[in-house]
């Protein structure tokens, strides 16, 4: 029934000989390296307690990092690392499973493989085996690393932390193995899975925000029980240390993986269970223009990230009501808010901070959208296009303009919808125009990244996407953790985001925005010239 699995496992290891070690080391390494960073920077017990007070009261912290269990280093470690580590594992597992199942079918390679002595179940079993072993390796490295470095909590709890991450990774591998059966293309499958990861992340965020404290233990509302992230949090690994929730992802996998095989047994090779639709017989008038083609290639990426952004701002906007209730229910909280300058001001500061998340998501959209430059080039689609009257520079300009215009539209819409949802569902009053402008003030950030991307595309195309994604990680990392860890100022200033004043809580400062735009345009120009001069990638 599973003939050929071993051969296919070797094939996966050969194909991913570079990707797998990088993912495994970075997933384990991130959590391990955060331990000394936190220990070094948290300082005294008093500053820890102070930090804890502000965090425990903050719903934004709860939404994005989970509740703080206790004012210990273990509690802080959990809040500051667990969901990030979990996200790395979630993306690692889903991308891995799709790459070796649906993507192979789409490519046509699976056809030739399955014409050999390999059962139709073997490719899925092979990749799940690789996923299992990779997760075990990550767990082992992470557990060993943290247990060695951390003295602040028991060794067993370090292992519990690692095991809860391994369990989460397996749960997402199982989810991916089902989604792989549903769609015809790997990009659709990856899109659905990114949505599932986002939705389950938000579900547990809602669970944490609406949760209560039972006998000193933060207990989430039931939403969290629907999410693998929530299951991971239930272990409270480096604080209270509960072992039983490790069973939840295991039981889930035992139920979900057979479902995937059951679906697999019922479909043709290359087909999905969700039917592929028929298309038009003629190209629309729009599609016949170079811009139309560019938009056709870009629109799914745009729509995907737009939906993601809108879900985020609607959730945040309508939660501002909830926050108000939470604040007014507790006199302690009320004092905290008053100390910060009244309810109106805190709402504005909170919402302005949320716009930085909108900016980060939009930046991710722009990077993925620019990724088309490279994928079109290496897939030889570009060769066909440039053999027509379309010029290189026009082709580049169309994609860049689409990404930047799309980014502007996404920022403006997200800012406006944030304000509208505060007004409609959040029971507050927010100036729609001010939030639209506030969101748009992050546009020069997109321009700088676009400049860097196009420059690299011109001179070192292989590295463009990698550098851009690392840059985005840096921007998010600095925004989230820099203050906490206390990195040197010059390092912090490397992130363009810190130079943008959070509007509308603060006035928009034109100087940095103009400077960033000029830098971006200059990089763009140099990049375009290098692209004009270089060879097209060899097929």
């Amino acid at each position: 029934m599973f003939a050929g699995t071993w051969t296919l496992i070797k094939l996966i290891l050969r194909r991913d000989r570079i990707k797998l070690p990088i993912w495994i080391l970075s997933a384990a390494g991130f959590a391990v390296l955060m331990v000394p960073l936190l220990v070094k920077t948290t300082g005294s017990a008093a500053s820890l307690a102070e930090l804890a007070t502000s965090m425990q009261l903050n719903d934004v912290v709860k939404l994005l990092t989970g509740p703080l269990d206790q004012a210990t280093l273990g509690g802080l470690f959990l809040v500051k690392t667990s969901l990030y580590t979990a996200l790395i594992l979630a993306f690692f597992n889903t991308l891995l499973v799709i790459r070796h199942t649906r993507q192979n079918e789409e490519l046509g390679a699976q056809e030739l493989i399955l014409s050999g002595r390999a059962s139709r179940y073997s490719p899925l079993l092979a990749v799940l085996t690789v996923a299992l072993v990779s997760n075990i390796l990550i767990t082992a490295l992470m557990g060993l690393g943290i247990a060695t470095i951390a003295n602040e909590w028991p060794v067993g709890q370090s292992w519990l932390y690692a095991l809860s991450m391994g369990g989460l990774g397996l749960a997402f591998a199982a989810i991916a193995s089902i989604v792989a059966q549903l769609t015809e293309t790997s990009s659709a499958a990856n899109g659905i899975l990114a949505g599932v990861i986002g939705a389950t992340f938000l579900l547990r965020g809602a669970g944490d925000v609406l949760g209560t404290v039972v006998a000193g233990v933060p207990t989430p509302a039931f939403w969290s029980y629907l999410s693998p992230f929530g299951w991971m949090q239930l272990t409270h690994s480096t604080t209270f240390g509960y072992w039983w929730p490790l069973l939840i992802p295991l039981v889930f996998c035992l139920a979900a993986v057979p479902c995937a095989f059951w679906l697999l047994a019922r479909r043709d090779l290359g087909a999905g269970l969700l039917p592929g639709r028929r298309g038009r017989a003629r190209a629309s008038r729009l599609l016949r223009t170079p811009f139309g083609l560019t938009w056709h290639l870009q629109k799914n990426v745009f729509m995907g990230w737009l939906v993601g952004n809108l879900v985020l701002v609607v959730v945040i906007g309508s939660m501002s009501n909830q926050m108000d209730k939470v604040y007014s229910a507790s006199s302690q909280l009320k004092d905290f808010i008053i100390s910060l300058g009244g309810s109106g001001a805190i709402e504005k500061a909170f919402l302005s901070a949320m716009l930085t998340y909108v900016a980060a998501l939009t930046l991710a959209y722009v990077i993925q959208s620019l990724g088309k430059l490279r994928s079109e080039e290496v897939s030889s689609h570009l060769e066909n296009l440039l053999a027509t009257k379309l010029s290189r520079i026009k082709w580049l300009a169309l994609h860049v303009a689409t990404a930047l215009t799309g980014g502007a539209a996404m920022l403006a819409l997200s800012g406006a919808v944030l304000a509208i949802s505060v007004n409609v569902a959040g029971g507050g009053s927010a100036d729609i125009w001010a939030y639209t402008c506030g969101a748009l003030s992050y546009w020069p950030l997109l321009l700088v990244f676009t400049g860097v991307y196009v420059l690299l595309f011109g001179i070192l195309p292989m590295a463009a996407s990698l550098v851009a994604w690392l840059g985005l990680c840096w921007v998010v990392f600095v925004g989230e953790l820099a203050a906490l860890i206390g990195i040197p100022n010059w390092l912090r200033d490397l992130s363009p985001m810190v130079h943008i004043h959070p509007a509308p809580a603060e006035a928009i400062a034109a100087g940095p925005l103009i400077a960033m735009s000029l830098i971006g345009l200059a990089l763009l120009a140099v990049g375009a010239i290098s692209w004009y001069r270089r060879n097209l990638a060899e097929q």
Binding site: G4, A109, G116, D268
Partner: protein, 235 residues
């Protein structure tokens, strides 16, 4: 025993019938040509025979067994060359040949070496750097270096130059001498004429006629004339 047999084979994709009652027999030791216009259902037939697609109704057997249920056992006895050869760009031709060989239960090392030489294929190049013809050679070398009773070839030579086409024909004749069965779907009519004992013509998912080469040579001047008359009259 017929190596391949289908009776009233139907495969539907939604409401569209790609195969609509196909009857086909291929006997042991036969080189059988499979002809038809684009979209007639040739590749669909082959994919059903390989157990990659599930038939909607009718019968399809390979070595008297069900290709969907017994796919793995059956695949030990066959080698397949698809019309479009796609592989991961970062593996070399040699690696792909070995992988496919392993999945077919081993390669004949001598044959592998001699085929690489005869087809003039550099096995150390990455797959992405191969031209269309060379990609097809990778699949051909992989298939022909395994010792199996049945070879299923789906337009295997559409990218080969005339020199390589010659090598291919010699290799197929060699297989025939050894008593192997070859099921060859092709648009290169001279190739079919030169190699096949019998041909089946299909149209709209049905077999329209079946000939031995002798019958064919008696009634029609050549295969191209027959092909054109068959499909032009029905248009």
């Amino acid at each position: 025993m017929n190596i391949i047999e289908t009776k009233q084979l139907v495969k539907k994709f939604g409401s569209l019938a790609a195969l609509d009652g196909l009857n086909l027999t291929v006997g042991e030791g036969e080189v059988h040509g499979f002809l038809g216009p684009n979209g007639a259902g040739k590749s669909t037939t082959i994919r059903v025979l390989l157990g990659l697609l599930k038939k909607t109704s009718g019968e399809a057997t390979l070595f008297d067994e069900d290709p969907w249920g017994k796919s793995v056992t059956l695949h030990k006895k066959l080698a397949y060359v698809p019309g479009e050869v796609n592989f991961w760009p970062n593996l070399t031709g040699g690696e792909i040949i070995d992988l496919l060989g392993e999945l077919r239960g081993g390669l004949d090392e001598k044959r592998r070496a001699s085929l690489l030489e005869r087809f003039d294929l550099d096995a150390t190049k990455k797959f992405r750097t191969y031209s269309k013809g060379n990609r097809q050679k990778v699949a051909l070398v992989a298939a022909l270096s395994s010792d199996v009773p049945l070879y299923i070839l789906d337009e295997p030579t559409s990218g080969l130059d005339p020199l390589m086409e010659n090598v291919f024909q010699e290799e197929i004749r060699d297989l025939k001498k050894q008593g192997k069965t070859v099921f060859l779907s092709s648009h290169i009519l001279s190739e079919v004429e030169a190699l096949c004992d019998r041909v089946t013509l299909i149209r709209l998912g049905k077999a329209v006629s079946e000939y031995t080469l002798a019958e064919l040579q008696k009634d029609h001047k050549n295969l191209e004339k027959l092909f054109l008359s068959k499909y032009e009259e029905e248009q």
